[in-house]
């Protein structure tokens, strides 16, 4: 590998050789082992940028979101409406001893019911929040239905 090619890959793929093309990784390692100061300095600079990029982390999904998305996918697929796939999905979600997904939905329903009780107790101050929650759930269902028509 030429130093020029090394620098080009450094500029495009960053300092971690694991992200470099498979076919060029060994040649890059061999070049680095010879210890050229300019390439090592360039690699340190690329590593600094990599560290900055890594600060842009995305929050991992929680169990509630996983359950919501799995449930929405299974309940909205069109071909599943009358098929065995849908029946299995529906029975799973209506199982008498719900799985974690079932409990999560039960929890959501409980929270919603609780919000209504609090809302009723406090008069008309809080219904908008409950309505927003309901509207958001409907928006997801509608979006899924759009796909079902494809």
């Amino acid at each position: 590998m030429t130093p020029e090619r090394f620098l080009a890959l450094l500029e495009s793929c960053g300092a971690d050789l694991g992200r470099w093309p498979d076919a060029e990784r060994d040649a890059a390692r061999a070049l680095l082992e010879r210890g050229p100061a300019d390439l090592l300095a360039a690699r340190a600079e690329a590593a600094a940028l990599d560290r900055e990029l890594d600060a842009h982390a995305i929050a991992a999904p929680d169990a509630l979101l996983i359950d919501r998305i799995a449930g929405a996918a299974m309940s909205s697929a069109p071909h599943a409406k009358g098929g065995a796939q849908a029946r299995r999905a529906r029975s799973w979600w209506r199982a008498p001893f719900p799985s974690r997904a079932g409990w999560a939905l039960t929890g959501l329903a409980g929270a919603f019911a609780g919000a209504l009780v609090v809302s009723a107790a406090l008069g008309d101050s809080y219904p908008p929040a409950a309505a927003d929650w309901q509207k958001r759930g409907t928006a997801f269902s509608d979006r899924a239905a759009d796909w079902s028509e494809e």
Binding site: L9, S12, C13
Partner: protein, 188 residues
């Protein structure tokens, strides 16, 4: 789909209509999809909607999946990318004037280290969001999603040289933006 596709077995179970397999698949892939969509769209809520739409499609198409071509993970990225493109196009059409990279308010009372890490992340997120769209796509696919150059290039419909060129420009631009930002703050 390749024979050594790590998702093949689970995908077959999804295709047979096993609801638990769907949940397992969501558990396995949701983080990756959110990582892609949130970095491209800049909004968590939209990223979640995109991810949901991807899984609706998966549930619908898994029974008729034809193995032998792309890896399943690549197919998943293709679908998610298309959904992100649709939304970005719609945004341009609507000429939305809100700042997609606007940082969320910092939580009051967060420990200093946590706050600092959060601010660093928001600073990078803003810089990534300001990149031209194709540069941002290249960076997200190759760096953050850790796809190979050939997979990323294929998804973007370009050659490997073009991808490398986009990556070089993206990284140079980010280096400049990130170096410039503290100076802008000092000036304020």
């Amino acid at each position: 789909m390749n024979d050594d596709d790590p998702d093949a077995e689970l995908l077959a179970r999804v295709g047979r209509g096993e609801p638990r397999a769907v949940r397992e698949m969501v558990e396995r892939k949701l983080g990756r999809l959110l990582s892609l969509a949130e970095r491209l769209l800049g909004r968590r809520s939209e990223a979640e909607e995109v991810a949901q739409e991807v899984f609706v499609r998966l549930w619908k198409q898994a029974p008729t999946w034809q193995p032998g071509r792309a890896r399943f993970d690549t197919w998943l990225h293709r679908v998610a990318l298309n959904l992100c493109y649709d939304r970005l196009r719609r945004r341009r059409d609507e000429a939305a004037d809100d700042d997609v990279a606007e940082a969320e308010a910092d939580p009051a009372g967060a420990p200093d280290a946590l706050l600092e890490a959060r601010q660093r992340g928001q600073r990078v997120a803003r810089a990534v969001a300001e990149l031209p769209q194709r540069q941002r796509e290249a960076l997200v696919l190759q760096y953050y999603q850790q796809l190979s150059n050939s997979e990323a290039a294929e998804l973007m419909g370009i050659g490997i040289e073009a991808l490398e060129s986009l990556l070089v420009r993206a990284r140079r631009s980010l280096r400049e933006r990130l170096a410039a930002e503290p100076r802008r703050n000092d000036d304020a």
